[in-house]
């Protein structure tokens, strides 16, 4: 794995380039990791994956927890690792346990022997040794050391313990490193600026290829987050990539980018798709497609449309005019509305494809803004545009 920073904007936001062995082209950052379940997307079939933008869509997040109760380490090794298991040879895999939908860290059950996760098969306690066995059998391009993530409301003592444990497990995992794969050191610290800084400094001293920032998206408020993020990224060496999970909304992603994070894993696409929403905000800042604004529609805003709404029953246009995703090239809003109403699986497939495509487009906008050194302006525009339809109505701006 190779990483280099190419451009800066606004001080800490950076655009970079990531090279991973299996991916033919270099991946520009900031970039999104596609969420998976057992290595394949939730709904997008593997033969439609290549229709997503290249190479932005070639980075996949895989959680080792998904396999612990479905596929044995022995079987994965026998098959030869993730690439053979999933039939995805031109893709790069980033392995870390936390999956913000299904496998959330359960801080109360985590103890000195291992980290606890709640998942559909029950509660699992993962020890560093067995975690590393799973990582070795999976052979991902990059993997993260085992962390003790805690939510924002724990006591200071518990928070401090989580940092100590995470560092201890980091050393244990590194000692058991597999031959291939880049190791990312896990950084936690909850809502304490001191602990965040302490953890970051400790991890920075270890011989790792990058950093994984955990413990966010666990009930801390958006207001305190920028300071916490900066406390983490500030002590870290600039030339190594930073990966974060737990930031969901576009605004939260922007917070991460502003603090100097390069790679993101988000549940935004999942939540949108699950509820029948499709992203529609313009990806070309010079054009605002008026038809995307549906002010009379329940649950819609300039960002997205709710395709369950009856207003789309006869709408024979694609979700976004001019979008080159498989869904917009082949199907209409009316058809997806029908599929949602009759509870057909194809609705989720089509929405996940479009939403992934569109969200990847958002990351492209971020990169363009950083490269043109107007990231701060981009953030203001983007966050402000959320209220455009209200301002047009003449109503008061709503505060977040």
């Amino acid at each position: 794995m190779k990483f280099a920073v190419k451009a800066w904007s606004n001080g800490t936001a950076r655009a970079g380039v990531l090279h991973l062995g299996n991916v033919a082209a270099a991946i520009d950052t900031p970039s999104l990791l596609i969420s998976t379940r057992k290595g394949l997307p939730l709904s997008i079939p593997p033969d439609l994956l290549p229709s997503l933008p290249f190479p932005d869509s070639r980075l996949l997040h895989v959680s080792p927890i998904h396999f612990f109760q479905g596929l044995s380490i022995k079987t994965i090794s026998k098959i030869g690792g993730l690439h053979q298991l999933l039939g995805l040879h031109g893709y790069g895999f980033a392995a870390f346990p936390r999956d913000s939908i299904q496998c959330l860290p359960e801080a109360t059950s985590t103890n000195k022997t291992g980290a606890s996760f709640d998942n559909p098969c029950g509660r699992l306690l993962i020890k560093p040794a067995e975690y590393m066995e799973m990582i070795s059998s999976m052979k991902p391009e990059l993997w993260v050391t085992l962390a003790d993530e805690v939510p924002a409301w724990v006591s200071d003592k518990r928070n401090k313990t989580s940092v100590d444990r995470t560092i201890k497990w980091l050393d244990e995992c590194i000692a058991l490193s597999p031959a291939s794969g880049a190791v990312f050191g896990a950084i936690v610290g909850g809502s304490s600026l001191e602990e965040r800084r302490r953890c970051a400094l400790e991890v920075a001293m270890r011989n790792v290829s990058g950093y994984w920032i955990g413990g966010f998206g666990l009930a801390e408020s958006m207001d305190v987050r920028p300071a916490l993020l900066n406390a983490v990224t500030e002590p870290l060496p600039e030339e190594k990539p930073r990966l974060i999970c737990g930031l969901e909304l576009p605004e939260e992603i922007l917070q991460g980018v502003a603090a100097g994070v390069d790679l993101f894993e988000s549940t935004y696409i999942y939540h949108l798709t699950h509820e029948g929403f499709a992203l529609t905000f313009p990806l070309d800042r010079t054009q605002i497609n008026a038809s995307n604004l549906a002010p009379s529609d329940v649950g819609s805003d300039p960002r997205k449309i709710n395709l369950r709404a009856t207003v789309f029953r006869k709408d024979a246009t694609p979700i976004v005019e001019g979008c080159t995703c498989y869904t917009c090239r082949n199907h209409t809003r009316a058809y997806i509305n029908h599929l949602l109403n009759v509870h057909e699986m194809l609705a989720q497939i089509l929405l996940e494809i479009h939403n992934t495509h569109h969200f990847l487009g958002f990351f492209r906008l971020i990169r363009e803004a950083i490269t043109a050194d107007r990231f701060e302006e981009f953030c203001k525009d983007f966050v402000g545009s959320r209220y455009d339809h209200l301002v047009e109505d003449g109503s008061e701006r709503v505060c977040l």
């Binding site: 033969d47 596929l71 082949n330 009316a334 509305n337 194809l346």
Partner: protein, 438 residues
């Protein structure tokens, strides 16, 4: 897309049989305004059809043909997956094309309910609505469909004539608006497990209704109305129905009322009887079939088209179709099995995924259902392709034997299959165990 109309001479009828029928049913026929005292109203001799059926090869009763429909040129025998609500569950249209699906089914009743046939018509028909460029067939729906649920069948409207007029008026609008290449007539279906006069009643009603269907059909130039042979398991009733439908000179015929739990021995006999009596130059569609074994047998007996929810439904329960029969991916033994589902299958799923991986997905993640549905439909399309090509190349008996040997390696081919193959004049002695006492 306009097809050149071509003529089909009306089939000749046994005149003694015709007078018998008239004698029995004249009073009933006179009650209905759509038939004359002479009996059935056949379609004109220069019947316009929206299909062309060209037999390319035969082996005894089995035939391989090219079926040209308004939206697609198909090869028969063929299997049609079922997409009740305008989608095949869990598969996108480009995947269906990759798999080789030629015709898919929609259900008139379900689509009339949601999103309504008016909406589909307004948006340009079902092909455009789904973006399916190939052929579509719409059925009224047997047990769960039109008749069972139409409010007209109860109370005041239990008079069959009234019920039909009301139901069909709606039905014809719906099927014409939806715009499929093949539309099934509204028939009266009863389960084959029922006995008694109800079956006879249903058969005659089906015959009366076909005339109304023909009269109400507004688009014979680009939609093919297929008649459905009913009559339960009674050969006499089936015969009457076949002759009645053949009289109407329809573009194609279906054998309905089967695949409902009857014993296999009765099932194949009805198929054999109907295929023998239906015209050679028109497609024959056995509805609701089904299991790969049943499709091979029916093809040997001279049928061309099949539909069933089985491949996709069983996929959602974690079962894969393989040459040996079925493979239950939920089985714990699969957890360590690193082989593909079927090593002879060329589908995307078998080329990329192990049984162990699919096992980890089934019943937990939607992707498991998607991958298994993909494989199962690919299996059915490959079966269709193999049936077609083996008949065309003159290798049909070898194909059948090979198929049976894989499915019954111990030679325990079921009795009903043996009997059916005898009637089809296909020698399967090489597949049967040597030491059975027959």
């Amino acid at each position: 897309m306009a097809l050149t109309p071509f003529c089909s001479p009306p089939p000749s009828l046994c005149s003694s049989f015709r007078s018998l029928r008239r004698g029995l049913f004249l009073p009933l026929l006179q009650a209905y305004p759509y038939t004359t005292s002479k009996g059935a109203v056949p379609m004109p001799e220069t019947a316009l059809m929206a299909l062309r059926f060209e037999v390319l090869g035969r082996f005894n009763r089995a035939r391989a043909a090219q079926l040209t429909l308004p939206h697609f040129v198909c090869q028969t025998p063929l299997f049609m997956p079922v997409g009740t609500q305008g989608t095949i569950k869990g598969l996108a249209t480009n995947q269906l094309e990759d798999i080789g699906c030629q015709i898919i089914l929609g259900n008139t009743y379900h689509l009339a309910l949601r999103p309504t046939s008016e909406l589909i018509d307004e948006l340009g028909g079902l092909h455009k609505f789904m973006n399916w460029p190939r052929a579509l067939l719409t059925d009224s729906g047997e047990s769960s469909g039109w008749k069972a649920n139409a409010p007209y069948t109860r109370g005041v409207y239990s008079n069959p004539s009234m019920c039909f007029t009301l139901a069909y008026f709606g039905y014809s609008c719906y099927i014409n608006r939806i715009g499929a290449d093949i539309i099934m007539a509204l028939d009266d279906v009863v389960k084959t497990t029922i006995t008694g006069p109800r079956i006879e009643e249903a058969m005659y009603r089906t015959l009366r209704w076909i005339d109304r269907c023909i009269a109400a059909h507004k688009r014979p130039y680009d939609q093919n109305l297929f008649g459905i042979v009913q009559g339960g398991l009674d050969p006499v009733l089936r015969d009457i129905c076949v002759r009645g439908l053949v009289d109407r000179n329809l573009p194609g015929y279906a054998i309905g009322g089967l695949a409902g739990g009857e014993d296999k021995d009765s099932f194949w006999r009805v198929v054999a009887q109907c295929t023998a009596a239906l015209p050679e130059d028109k497609p024959r569609y056995v509805m609701g079939v089904g299991y790969p074994l049943d499709i091979v047998v029916c093809s040997a007996l001279g049928a061309d088209m099949y539909d069933c929810v089985y491949p996709t439904r069983t996929a959602r329960f974690g079962t894969a179709l393989v040459p040996e029969g079925v493979l239950k991916l939920k089985n714990n033994a699969m957890a360590e099995d690193t082989r593909p589902i079927d090593s002879t299958c060329a589908c995307m799923v078998c080329k990329n995924y192990s049984r162990a991986y699919i096992h980890s997905l089934v019943s937990k993640d939607a992707m498991g259902s998607q991958l298994l549905s993909y494989h199962n439909l690919y299996y059915m399309m490959q079966l269709s392709r193999n049936l077609h090509s083996s008949i065309v190349r003159g290798k049909f008996p070898e194909f059948v034997c090979n198929f049976l040997q894989k499915m019954f390696p111990k030679g325990d081919v079921p009795e009903w299959v043996c009997n059916a193959m005898e009637v089809a004049e296909i020698d399967i002695s090489s597949c049967r165990a040597r030491f059975r006492d027959d």
